[in-house]
Amino acid sequence: MIQFQNVVKRYPGGQEALSQVSLRMDEGAMAFLTGHSGAGKSTLLKLIALIERPTRGQITVNGQHLNTLPRRKVPYFRRGIGIIFQDHHLLHDRSVFDNVALPLVILGYRRPEIARRVRAALDKVGLLHKEKAQPVTLSSGEQQRVGIARAVVHKPAILLADEPTGNLDPALSREIMELFLQFNQVGVTTLIASHDLELITTLGKPILKLHAGKLVHADPQPEIAP
């Protein structure tokens, strides 16, 4: 589902964020990505979502060779991926419902179908009663869960999360991680960047460790199956 072959990412200015990273995640697998700040976790996720392009090496995601994917096809590629950020990227000029509905509007669903799916997603994250609320009126845990609902509402094949529990207390963090485990159980390939080792080591999923742009603490070519 996700495959990296000797991937190098160098940002303008010469700093190498990732060097010679190879890994493979099968469809339906789940893994955590850990490492210090600046170890390259975010860069790795951005490469998968085509927010950044690799300097060298091959990346294949969801059956697409990202190196040769033309710009105009990027939106269609991203529709197969759900992305969750630490600061949840919600739009503050519209309601929770409209935030979650955005991917479905873009995909071209009709209003009744959108309402049905948005409510199902909000129900899943336990915020059905907040659909009319404005994001600023929610706690940060709730905002994060709205962000998760938006990432899964269009049933993507891949779920990426960058420090989704960064601002949350341990109990809320565990709740969020349980949610990801549930999504993975229904077959969504899930990759979560987190430095909360204490939490993720208890969840029984493979952990990839990045250090200074290199994959350490894993096989030379880790293969992660469901």
């Binding site: 969801n62 059956g63 739009l91 991917p103 509007v105 995909l107 269009h154 077959g187």
Partner: protein
């Protein structure tokens, strides 16, 4: 990958949704104008003034041309006759001229008639009394038929009349009409130039407004791109925003032009009455109004298209 494609709705639903999405973008961009009335009003006023100015000038020109067209019909030839021609011969000559195809009317004016008219109209009557003989020649006043009112035709007629026996000179009283026409032509060019410059101004104003709008909504664009919005989807509300600016700016410009017409029509009619004319100002008419609106919409769309093409690409999720 089957899942990735599996998350899209069926094709007919997507096609319908595409239409719905266009309609939504249209209404949404209108709502944005409504929610920011002060900024929108300022932009619309600038657009409307920039459009109303050349439209008003063009209308003024059109009216001047219509008015001077009336005067064209007054083109007359004064055919001066040699002193040797007697009064009965003059009447005969006038009859011959009257028979010409190009002539509508030929009115003979004997030397005594000419003197009387000069005395009555010039105010130099007493000076004439000092002269011991009548210095004025007899003449025939010739009015060409309407089909022969053009400058070239009238000149040709003058040469034809000069060839007649007893005629010393045929003078065309239309040099001032020609001068006016030349002046109008020059003004027309000027109006076209001003229109082009102000049209360019509208393009830039709309472009800049949409550019600021895009920058203000940067976050929204980033998020939409992250969840798979195509460039077309993101572009749409901005393009429609430009369309609304153009349309409403055009309507406002029409209103300004209309108001100016109403305010000017009274004095213009008074002036026309002083010249013994029932001339009244012409409005832009249906096609003129439609042309103005069409131009305004095209400029609005064009301006937003430039801004969108230039700035949407730069905004990518970080």
């Amino acid at each position: 990958m089957s899942r990735a494609r599996g998350n899209a709705p069926p094709i007919h639903t997507r096609f319908q949704a595409w239409g719905v999405n266009h309609a939504q973008a249209l209404v949404f961009s209108l709502g944005r104008l409504y929610r920011n009335p002060f900024g929108a009003a300022l932009t619309l006023a600038v657009i409307a003034i920039a459009l109303a100015l050349p439209s008003g000038l063009w209308l003024a020109l059109k009216n001047l041309q219509a008015a001077s067209g009336d005067w064209d019909h007054g083109a007359q030839l004064s055919v001066f006759v040699a002193d040797s021609v007697t009064d009965p011969a003059l009447v005969q000559l006038a009859g011959r001229i009257q028979a010409l195809e190009a002539v509508e009317r030929a009115q003979p004016l004997t030397r005594e008639d000419a003197l009387a008219e000069f005395r009555a109209l010039s105010g130099f009557g007493e000076a004439l009394d000092l002269l011991d003989h009548n210095p004025l020649p007899a003449l025939v006043l010739v009015t060409p038929v309407p089909a022969h009112q053009g400058p070239a035709e009238v000149q040709a007629l003058a040469r034809q009349l000069e060839a007649l026996e007893g005629v010393t000179q045929a003078q065309v009283d239309m040099q001032w009409v020609q001068r006016l026409q030349a002046l109008l032509e020059m003004t027309r060019r000027g109006v076209v130039l001003v229109a082009i410059l102000l049209g360019l101004g509208v393009l830039l104003v709309v472009g800049n407004t949409i550019r600021l709008d895009i920058l203000n909504r940067r976050r929204e664009i980033e998020v939409a791109k992250l969840v798979g919005a195509t460039d077309g989807f993101i572009r749409r509300p901005f393009l429609y925003g430009g369309l609304w600016l153009g349309l409403f700016g055009g309507l406002l410009a029409l209103f300004i032009v209309g108001l100016a017409l109403v305010l000017l029509n009274g004095p213009v009619q008074q002036l026309a009455a002083l010249y013994g004319s029932d001339f009244r100002l012409q409005g832009p008419g249906f096609s003129g109004a439609l042309g103005l609106l069409g131009t305004a919409v095209a400029l609005g769309l064009g301006g937003s298209w430039i801004a969108v093409g230039r700035h949407l690409r730069e905004i990518e999720p970080q």
